[in-house]
Symmetry: D2
Subunit: 281 residues, 4 copies
């Protein structure tokens, strides 16, 4: 994901230094003109902005506040742009910690799978102060088909990203519940899926539905444990904002059950196995 | 809805007698060649099949078992094809009651709004014995873009229809929950909707989302109380089949709350008002 | 249950004719002075009031409206007092059908197990018109330790009974969820139960908890399928009254899952097996 | 709460140094023979064990790891016994941080209100290594009517405490849902409560039900925001242990809604206002 985004930044003419824990991944980008750094700190040298694209809160905390991290290396006046799907709480912490060091901070999580990143088809959701967003919007435009400025507080972009991910989780949940009921009703999931595809023409239903119908949960296109992370984070934001989201609770509980059955590395679609078990299948 | 379907049957060359409680609605079809009957029974005279397209279980029960109803008038060997969104329980009752009278019975509920019916774009979900389905499939084909045969027991078509409607209910639910959270997070619903439309390109999100964002809940494109009917029926089928559907329970409870606030004639999208109230908005 | 209640009516000096599908059960009461009837209709002969204590809506419908039923045999001015746990909808139907025949109708469901019925410890929840309740309150007092008049419409007593049963269902649900979590946390259910008994001193937790901890789900003290009936009826009343009850939905969904795993004749406490399965146990 | 527990320790003959942010509260105990310290560190001087009874995770973190905190002051071989209702996660952190400093660590949360603490009626739930529990069990016995050793890992005691609190939350939830339905059914909450008290004889229903029926939510006996903390922590433990707890999710969502309506300082019983609003009351 990060490599695809970096490639598009290079193609748009930006100077780029890249860092990855596995240096091999960086080398590919070197061929396209990127400098390769040996630490996050080194990647910050002389940079106007540093972008992070990482798995979760913990990874971001380590890269920013850990040894040879961004916090101690970024120049005053430079900015950190976080593209990861992280909690609103961490986004707020990054906002204040960077401010205390004279850094700018933007949240810019993205919608889209790795293929969309390759094809510059991402949706980039930016939040932060106007001046910073205007200054760095070209980076978003270089990586995606559209850049949105959703608010002046960086965490707001994380809220949008998490609610968007919740929409997907909810679609997968309702598909899985329906599949279980269809099977108990003696109707082939493939038949139901064919009708749903004709009705909705939605890639989300088509993709996850195909995995469910074929019960091909590995290798995962999107790991179930990442779906659980999203469900947990959206519920956290719901509590922080004072807006109950019971449909998110339903998904969360089912993903916890899936984890308890050892499905963490299976595809998110395998939540359908939880529904199937609940139906005695 | 029924008028549009009847029009397509006429255009496909079928002889048709129509009945509606309000005779004026039937007259329009008379211009296109339909005979007009004064009762369901009269509409059955000499008919090979009678199609019903009605609001709910009660309406179907009255038209079939009531005075001058279908049950007493349909010829032996003729069939009743029920296109309404009704309970699986009523579908099973119709199956046995018609069988006892020497009638065939097919369930053939449809997916699609009135515009889709006009444009012969409906999806027709048929269930019943093979021979009956083969005999009457041309009627489905005349009314829609695709006819599916999902099972040999008529109620199975109702199960498919109800699960499909649940998918829509679930999309509306998750959109409404997200809208409430976005508003509490200080993000304009219009902005969130714009991003979701770019992400999903789904007419369901686009249509219901627009109504939610503009808070234009009347007149209703699809009345909330019909959504509640669907939620209730899908939960009934879930219980009958032994397949719990907690996401459907969430929607159902929110629609009950909406009814308690007098929203029965508002658009289904107004369930977002429940989420807003729960969030203190 | 019915026999114990009848015994207390006899002991209070009331003249009683009893009917049970299995005549042997009636004979025992004959020794205590009851006449034995061969049909519900015969039991109504010359009676001022007829009490019914039956399993569910269907049984009540058959005994009242079926062949040799109460509806056709009860004298004008006499009353039907229904003690069964039935739906509010049936209670409303009984109210109007009896009124049309010149009968009175009272709902008088009871709280308490068979032992409580034996010991005249039942709580009798009556609803109906004041004059009827005053006239028949002595029957309630003869059967229980307290008679409550909760409203002038008979279905209100059913609403109270169902909400009371929901309270029990909810206690069993939370106990089962906690047991699963405790087991996953490496804590013996017996230990947790001992602490909960010390904390709450509640017979509900003690009884159901013991069954759960010992996993002795058969024979059932209270069959799971009866719990499902209660959950379904309380959700029906919640919808009718316009008062969402999501905790009841949670229980209902888990009981549906239990049914799908063949637990209908196991004790209600076996819903803990659903929680255990969800936790991968 | 802490003062009552300290009083019982003194009465049992233990030497005690006490610390409270508000020194006045400590002075009362001084009359009973306690030394008064000016910081948590000072309270640790020469102590074999230090007990903490604090509001939440944050307070415990400050008192242990903050300036003049316990972590830096406790002698090697001495132990920290945490009686607060805190997260299992913090309990695990305390376990490892204390171990690294050569301290013992026990979790010993308690069940019971301040009156129970006064009367030495608490239930003390201890978890930790056998030798530590045997060494310090007399402290538990001095403060309560029973000390339970539930496991060798300290966080297990927190799991038990949180599940116990969830049981109470769940009772309050079902009572509130029932009250709303009763009100919509035209039945006085007081009447329903009277029957429930006769049925269950439970102080939990009696206490919370009285507050609900009288709608006297302030001053709070137990603040709603503390209930939300408990619900959040029990859901966290459910996820960590891999045991979904959907009934806890229902309570959590309703408490979030209550917070959104400004009820944080009202009594937990005021969650009934959420149910009432959902029912259009």
């Amino acid at each position: 994901m990060g490599a695809a985004m970096a490639g598009n930044l290079l193609r748009a003419g930006h100077e780029l230094t890249v860092y990855n824990r596995s240096r091999a991944k960086s080398e590919t980008l070197a061929k396209d003109g990127a400098r390769v750094a040996d630490s996050p700190a080194e990647a910050c040298h002389g940079a106007e902005a540093v972008l992070t694209m990482l798995a979760d809160d913990l990874a971001v905390e380590q890269v920013v506040f850990g040894e040879s991290g961004i916090a101690g290396a970024l120049a005053k006046g430079a900015a950190h742009i976080s593209c990861s799907t992280i909690s609103a709480a961490l986004s707020r912490r990054l906002t204040s910690e960077h401010a205390a060091r004279g850094h700018g901070y933007l949240s810019a999580p993205v919608f889209g799978r790795p293929e969309a990143a390759e094809g510059k088809k991402l949706l980039v959701v930016m939040a932060g102060p106007n001046d910073l967003v205007e200054r760095f919007r070209p980076l978003g435009d270089a990586m995606g088909r559209q850049t949105y400025h959703v608010g002046s507080a960086p965490w707001q972009a994380n809220a949008v990203k998490l609610c968007g991910n919740f929409m997907i989780l909810s679609m997968v949940e309702s598909l899985g519940e329906s599949f279980a009921t269809m099977r108990k009703a003696g109707i082939a999931p493939q038949m139901f899926l064919e009708i749903m595809n004709a009705l909705f023409a939605s890639p989300v239903y088509a993709n996850y539905g195909k995995i469910m119908a074929n019960e091909e949960f590995e290798p995962a296109a999107f790991e179930l444990k990442l779906g659980l992370k999203d469900a947990r984070l959206v519920l956290a934001i719901a509590e922080e904002c004072g807006s109950p989201m019971p449909a998110a609770s339903v998904v969360h509980n089912h993903l916890v059950s899936a984890m308890a059955h050892g499905q963490e590395k299976q595809d998110l679609a395998s939540v359908a196995r939880v529904h199937a078990r609940n139906a005695g299948l």
